[in-house]
Symmetry: C2
Subunit: 315 residues, 2 copies
């Protein structure tokens, strides 16, 4: 049986192995994903994003517990900050959500933000695809931070929850403005803290000030205390309400087409990059370019044009 057949038959170890192959960018993983692709599209994907320290992992843990109580199978993809030198993820699967460790209806996978050269959103989509093929009903994608990468990643979700907390410092206003447009639900976590009402009110005001198109979704701001589990049911209700809106309004069609486009273009860029790196390995092209740049006789712009022309000529 091929790896993809094993995944489809519910083999958890085969799924873990395929995800590792995706992480290692093995060509065989692409072949397996081709086989799985036709069997996906059934999972509902929830994105959770927000600044460091917002308590996202605890929230994901509580959401997972809630969906499990409904009998749903839950897959989690957590994007962890990586040490750029060692290549290792800082937070491992193991320190995450121990209480779900023995639950066969939960599959958790950490992805490291290491330098797959822009490949993080591709890896995330690929891993989500495996979870989908495994039969997960819900897939939660958790990302730290506010960068472009994070924005790209949560765009793969059906419903995106932006998690904030009171009192994270001066630049928070800027970040809020940046993520205001990507959130379908806003969560102010650590609702026992001082300033929570002000943070929630500020968010509500900012949301009201947006020029939302008529008939578009109106995001709510929910106060949650993830640590105690308070407010989780209201959050689940909002996620469900947003899902119902997507289908009732027909917005889902656009969302899926845009998601497909991003995934396809990610794969295309990644494949092209690998192709050109392979091309440059022959004849030590890269070393010659770097020698020329170091000597000041070659600029990188002309060098890139020459390399591309060479690759296209070779066919």
């Amino acid at each position: 049986m091929s790896l993809s057949e094993k995944v489809l038959s519910g083999d958890v170890r085969a799924a873990a192995r395929l995800m590792r192959d995706i992480d290692d960018a093995r060509p065989s993983a692409t072949e397996e994903l081709k086989q799985l692709y036709g069997r996906t599209g059934n999972a509902y994907i929830i994105g959770i994003t927000g600044p460091p320290g917002a308590g996202k992992s605890t929230l994901v843990d509580q959401l997972t517990a809630s969906f499990r109580q409904q009998g749903k199978k839950v897959g989690v993809v957590a994007i962890d900050p990586t040490s750029p030198f060692t290549g290792g993820a800082i937070l491992g699967d193991r320190i995450r959500m121990n209480r779900h460790a023995t639950d066969e209806g939960v599959f958790i996978r950490s992805l490291a933000t290491r330098g797959a050269l822009g490949g993080l959103s591709r890896s995330t989509s690929d891993v989500a695809l495996v979870l989908d093929a495994m039969g997960m009903d819900i897939i939660i994608i958790e990302t730290v931070g506010v960068g472009q990468d994070e924005v790209d990643i949560v765009k793969a979700a059906h419903t995106t929850c932006v998690v904030m907390v009171p009192g994270l410092g001066d630049d928070i206003q800027a970040i809020k403005a940046g993520i205001l447009e990507i959130g379908d639900v806003f969560v102010v976590n650590k609702a026992d803290r001082e300033g929570v009402d002000r943070t929630a009110r500020e968010l509500e005001t900012m949301l009201e000030m947006r020029n939302a198109a008529a008939g578009s979704w109106s995001p709510q701001v929910l106060k949650v205390e993830a640590q105690r589990g308070a407010g989780i049911e209201a959050l689940v209700d909002q996620i469900r309400a947003h899902r119902d809106f997507l289908f009732a309004s027909g917005t889902i069609d656009n969302l899926l087409r845009e998601r497909n486009q991003r995934h396809f273009v990610d794969i295309l860029r990644d494949s092209l990059y690998r192709r050109v790196m392979d091309f440059m390995e022959q004849d030590a092209v890269l070393a010659r370019v770097l020698d020329g740049m170091g000597a000041g006789t070659l600029d990188p712009y002309s060098a890139a044009e020459d390399v591309i022309a060479g690759m296209l000529k070779k066919g």
Copy 2:
């Protein structure tokens, strides 16, 4: 006179125009950069990174003032979080460092983190190149956050300062581990706050625990109160000490070669991506791929292979 000739002659408006062209990814900008490339390599580049709310902008402001007192010309590239929908940067050049606004020895440029599809580190390098060609002695690159993008960007610097503050929440440990290896100098800002000594001690312990190679640089942890300007001179001294180390140890050669490689590969990926997007615009290739994916008759992996084969065949 061409734009690049004007930049070399010190024309500030021409430099601003070229940077806009870089931001807009105009092909003409690449031609100008080719002309400038041979006249660069003289500026010393300092990277400033750290989490939101760490007071990086204030620190950059103080560093700028200090270098100006030494008579050095200073260029600043500030990477600002962007609203992914509007495309506009949140923090503009205008709200930054008003006190240097009339100083001709200071040139400040904000770059938005909008979706140039992985092109942010390329744009940053290109803009730094223009500042270098303009004759700036010091270039400061400021980035928010801890993502892979930020790491890539500060790798363009000769000396990287990581800015921390006490009490930014639970995930900070993870972030510290992630950026521990990219910092040449560590700054604990807001040194008037409670917990500053503990944060500094924690950082020092983590730095000591690293298995640093013999003869390598030992980063110091400095306490700074950027708002009052306290500790800035010690920081400038540390940056100078690190620069001296780079040249005395010969580490500078490797650093420059690695920087050249990253810049070249960034340009190469970017150019390839534009090429394939142009190719797909003919014959509505993208629309057909998305139709196939939507209908479930085409997977994105096979589609990417087909498109690349088509492009290479066409030459």
